[in-house]
Amino acid sequence: MTSKIINMAERIKDAEDRLLESMFESAPIADNGFSGQIVKRIRRKLWIRRITLPVAVLLGLLVAFRPMAAIVKGVYGLLLSMPGDLVPSLEGSLPSLQLIVTGALILFVAMFSLSMLED
């Protein structure tokens, strides 16, 4: 109620207020591609944000490929050098090194493709 009264009081303008309003009044500015320019900037920003993470992950994978392969190779070699009674029939059950690394890469790419599709 009080706010309504205040709003009504605000709307009651004297001649000076009306004069100031007319003095401050200005012609509307035509859009002339202004909004389109901003929307374009926003779309570019969104696209960059969307692409940054997958690109970073791919680059990371490329950089980490060799050390990862070395680690997997080391673990693989360690398992093979263990006594036969500790890890029975290991040789037959372990997949090849290339298969492990390729599988991991495919898994990563698939996960990121799915998250990008969701976006």
Binding site: L19, F24, I29, I42
Partner: protein, 183 residues
């Protein structure tokens, strides 16, 4: 052209990052925001750059718009903050230039603006302080209520009223308003 109230468009933008809906919001309000910044800065191209920054910020902060006040009031709040921050930045820049013995670029730009101020409104605005200018423009050019101005400037409603009163007083004493009134 997309139909719907401002609040509906805001909801669409927040829910699904709909750039077309945001484009429609810009189309609706760009004139007010640009006019506001042009009157504040007195420099058309700088004002348009600031307006672009303002809408970019609005995009980032849209989720904070509660929908309780008018959307243009919320936009003008961002526009005013953007203007003050750019002013602060250019002031700092001018100080650095002065320290290294250069003529301040910002200072020379201000002189150009003052020289260009020939219109009645520009003369009126020139006698006002920055704060008074912003509040008077929000009130008389953009038609915001005192409450909306108070939200936009983070000032109590009472202070907004007294700034408007002071601004009117300054204009009244500096110019013979009655002359304008009677042509």
């Amino acid at each position: 052209m997309i139909s719907g109230e401002d609040n509906e468009l805001v909801a669409r933008v927040v829910a699904s990052q709909d750039t077309r809906a945001f484009g429609e919001l810009i189309r609706r309000h760009q004139s007010h925001v640009r006019n506001f910044l042009r009157k504040l800065s007195g420099d058309m191209s700088a004002a348009d750059d600031l307006a672009q920054d303002c809408f970019m910020r609005a995009w980032d902060k849209l989720h904070t718009y509660s929908g309780s006040g008018s959307f243009i009031g919320w936009l003008l709040k961002i526009a005013y903050t953007t203007f003050l921050q750019s002013k602060r930045k250019s002031k700092r820049y001018a100080e650095i230039l002065e320290q290294v013995g250069h003529v301040s670029a910002a200072e020379s730009r201000t002189h150009t603006v003052q020289a260009d101020e020939t219109g009645d409104l520009d003369k009126f605005l020139a006698v006002l302080s920055e704060e008074e200018r912003a509040i008077m423009v929000m009130s008389y050019a953009c038609g915001l209520s005192h409450r909306e101005i108070s939200e936009a400037t983070a000032m109590p409603v009472g202070s907004v009223k007294s700034v408007i009163f002071r601004g009117k007083e300054k204009i009244r004493t500096s110019f013979d308003i009655k002359d304008h009134q009677h042509g």
